[in-house]
């Protein structure tokens, strides 16, 4: 605590000593989720990194939770339009929630600024499960799709989308996927550990400690290639042409003046290069998936199309 006061003091001194440094003042980062979740942690990590690196002062994080981030998005769109001192954290889940909640505002009403981090999805079974590989899962899916129960997070979220993509790649009707939605990771994990569902789908981090302890077995990971240090084969290796990343990124308000947009983009660009941000990625186990605005907008267009198609195929969106 003492350290951080010193750091803040130091930032203040730096700000006084170097007026040439363009410092954004009174920046507000909106986390459209409750404290503690991934978006909230991202927003708070940005706050810490921006202040530690002296890039911005007086950064505030506000939580506007609800409905997969669409409440926060709606408030951001209506109250921040054209303002150069506000950012919104979001991600893949928000893309799905906009569609399934029929949100009146979408990502067309904001300026996508950068993709920051991401996490791959993992499929797991209890160690004593008869399912040993994706081939076993596919065989059972083909024989009786309803007999494979998939335990994961909320309906229409990343985990559900991955289950739909896998079914489709295996040539099974995605509407037949027996997806068991859970609120919050702990509940789904308990149902997987207790053997109440056939397999679990969630972010890698959630299952990693259980795999290390020998309680769960990883069947497949949703990355394009095997990840260093993770001894789990990819879906593609096992003949299923599916990859999915649960990304998190940051948006700016719509209709920004060009100078404001550039200032915010530069700010994020400098932040991701700071030591403070790199240290945060390391301690949280987040993968660096930084994409600046141009690349991110192209990626986002592709991802939105993929999510929309999948949600229609699993029958959640008409």
């Amino acid at each position: 605590m003492k350290m951080s006061w010193q750091a803040i003091g130091l930032c203040g001194l730096l700000a006084l000593a170097s007026p040439v440094q363009a410092e954004v003042q009174g920046l507000e980062i909106i986390a459209p989720a409750s404290p503690g979740g991934g978006w909230d942690q991202t927003a708070r990590a940005m706050q810490a990194a921006l202040q530690e690196a002296g890039l911005a002062s007086g950064v505030q994080v506000s939580n506007i939770p609800g409905a997969g981030g669409t409440i926060g998005l709606a408030q951001f769109v209506t109250s921040k339009q054209g303002q150069g001192n506000a950012l919104l954290v979001g991600g893949l889940v928000m893309v799905g929630a906009i569609l399934s909640n029929q949100s009146p505002v979408s990502l067309d009403n904001v300026t996508p600024l950068a993709r920051l981090t991401g996490e791959y999805e993992l499929l797991v079974v209890p160690t004593d499960s008869p399912l040993k590989s994706m081939a076993d899962v596919v065989a059972q899916l083909k024989a009786d799709p309803g007999s494979v129960s998939w335990g994961g997070g909320s309906a229409g979220g990343t985990d559900h989308i991955l289950a739909g993509l896998i079914a489709k790649a295996a040539g099974v009707d995605p509407t037949k996927v027996n997806y068991i939605a859970h609120s919050g990771g702990g509940e789904a994990l308990a149902d997987v550990l207790g053997g109440h569902v056939s397999l679990g789908v969630s972010g890698y981090q959630e299952f990693a400690p259980q795999i290390a302890a020998g309680k769960l077995r990883g069947l497949a990971i949703s990355s394009d290639e095997r990840l260093p240090g993770i001894d789990v084969p990819t879906l593609k290796e096992q003949g299923l042409d599916v990859s999915l990343v649960n990304w998190r990124g940051v948006m700016a308000p719509a209709e920004l003046a060009e100078a404001d947009q550039k200032a915010l983009a530069d700010l994020v660009d400098q932040m991701v290069k700071s030591d403070a941000w790199k240290k945060t990625l390391e301690t949280n186990g987040w993968l660096d998936m930084y994409q600046p605005a141009g690349e991110f907008q192209a990626f986002l267009a592709e991802d939105r199309a993929k999510v929309e198609a999948t949600l229609k195929e699993i029958g959640l969106v008409e």
Binding site: A67, I180, A181, G186, L193, L316
Partner: protein, 497 residues
């Protein structure tokens, strides 16, 4: 023996002046946030995370543990004095606790809550030390079918709070069940009864309804009647200490509440509300004076207060033994473990024994600190009720409104609070009990989700509810609880005639 040595080491860690200071900071902050309805321990820990980044992890977790327990203590204080539950775990406390306060027995209600919480917290922490791994294995046996049976069992609580009129009691229950349906359905992702209002997509918050019905509705009612009411409300009577009779009526509920709270808290989908409901029901069934329940029975404060504190220790069991967060606060503590680069999960006991045992030891210490902090304050707290009535009523309403706003920083919640408050006022005028509404609101959605999950996994085969032995056992207990009073009444009538 090994466990005792490890625990001894834990105490050595926790009792260093530096860590003790953080425990004290934690329980003080926790009590403060428990008092406010909107700010819970989860939010507080989340806000403090970045600040504690440079703190030694053991000290940080000792502080977080203190916040968690402290919030439970603080929340019961406002439930009893102001009829404004700060956390959903102390909603049940408000029913009889506030009735006691109105009769001038607020000090006794606070004392039985504080001592009960201390005893429950201590016993549950001892249980955590010795049976956490076994508890967790048992908890994992609970699948959707078992949870549904547990929810049905908890729903029988409603029979204890229905009041004199079955029609009025059931109307209140169904209002609660209907309110519980509002929002996105978890299994299908479809919105239900949201009237196109995006703020309703996540459902109606339990704390908003409880504060609306209890604090706003009740306060409006007593304020509206104050002109006609000659009875002197809230005036303190006699000693503020627990009498011999109070002790005699409290100690068994404390122990029974603990026995309910710890195991249910350890269940991944158990939560703190369910054990408080069950404890209330159990105490009413076992009491020699069931007619006092709802009108200020000390057992109805002692039992649920012990239950909610024991369940807090219960949630620590799966968190420490499995890395499984079973409450919002536990989830944030898990995030905190990750921030410190600690691998939470089954290996934590081996990889970081100093931290785990330090945390467990600090829970004991936090409990003792809270008792020391809270008991002397009882006399001061109850004096709050002696301020002039118009001021007191206005204060409660202001406090409830502020709390509702801080919940989500959303003006919509304020409108909701006052609409529900006015409904609560109407219910009081029509003599419809409000407690069944809360029970329905909390348990309805939980029961529905587990019921549908169980049927989805079994692909529509309803036999899962009877072929799972644990589920069947829980259903049987529910049936006994439901039928016993009716059978007893029938026999009494037969004997009488």
């Amino acid at each position: 023996m090994e466990t005792l040595a490890a625990l001894g080491h834990g105490f050595a860690v926790a009792l260093t002046p530096y860590n003790l200071l953080w425990a004290l900071v934690g329980v003080t902050v926790g009590t403060a946030v428990g008092v406010l309805p909107g700010i819970g321990p989860a939010l507080t820990v989340a806000l403090l995370l970045p600040v504690t980044y440079n703190l030694d992890p053991t000290a940080a977790f000792i502080m977080f543990g203190g916040i968690y327990y402290g919030a439970m203590y603080g929340s019961s204080t406002t439930s009893i004095l102001l009829n404004t539950p700060g956390e959903s775990g102390s909603i049940v406390t408000a029913i009889d606790g506030h009735a006691m306060a109105r009769q001038g027995r607020g000090a006794q209600a606070l004392a039985t809550a504080a001592i009960g919480s201390f005893i429950a917290g201590t016993i549950a922490t001892i249980a955590l030390t010795f049976v956490a791994p076994a508890m967790v294995r048992l908890a994992l046996l609970f699948g959707p079918a078992e949870y549904f049976a547990l929810m049905v069992l908890a729903l029988t609580t409603v029979t204890a709070v229905l009041g004199n009129s079955l029609v009025r009691g059931l109307s209140s229950l169904f209002l609660g069940l209907a309110l519980g349906l509002v929002g996105i359905d978890l299994q299908t992702g479809q919105a239900r009864f949201t009237l196109g209002i995006p703020e309703l997509l996540d459902g109606i918050d339990t704390v908003i309804v409880a504060v609306g019905l209890f604090a706003v509705g009740e306060t409006l009612y007593v304020a509206a009647r104050s002109r006609y009411e000659t009875e002197e409300l809230y005036a303190l009577r006699g000693s503020i200490w627990l009498s011999r009779e109070d002790w005699a009526r409290s100690w068994k509920p404390w122990l029974r509440g603990t026995a309910l709270g710890f195991p249910i808290g350890a269940l991944p989908a158990g939560g703190t509300e369910i054990p408080t409901f069950l404890s209330y029901l159990l105490e009413k069934r076992l009491s020699k004076r069931p007619e006092e329940f709802g009108k200020g029975a000390i057992e109805a404060v002692a039992g649920p207060e012990a239950a909610n504190n024991a369940s807090v220790a219960g949630t620590m069991a799966p968190l420490l033994a499995l890395g499984l967060p079973t409450s919002a606060t536990a989830a944030i503590m898990l995030a905190a473990f990750q921030q410190y680069g600690l691998q939470p999960g089954p290996l934590l006991f081996e990889s970081n024994p100093g931290l785990v045992w330090g945390l467990i030891a600090s829970l004991y210490i936090g409990n003792a600190l809270l008792l020391v902090l809270n008991l002397p304050l009882v006399g001061l707290w109850v004096r709050l009720l002696t301020i002039p009535k118009p001021w007191l009523y206005a204060g409660i309403l202001l406090f409830a409104t502020m709390g509702a706003y801080t919940l989500n920083n959303n003006v919509f919640d304020l409108i909701l609070l006052w609409v529900i408050g006015l409904i609560g006022f109407g219910m009081r005028v029509l003599e419809v009990p409000v407690a069944p509404c809360i029970v329905g609101l909390i348990l309805g959605p939980l029961a529905e989700q587990q019921f549908r999950r169980a049927l989805a996994i079994s692909q529509g085969d309803p036999s899962v509810f009877v072929t799972h032995p644990l589920a069947l056992l829980l259903f049987a207990i529910a049936a006994v609880l439901l039928l016993t009073p009716a059978v007893l009444r029938y026999r009494q009538r037969r004997l009488a005639s």
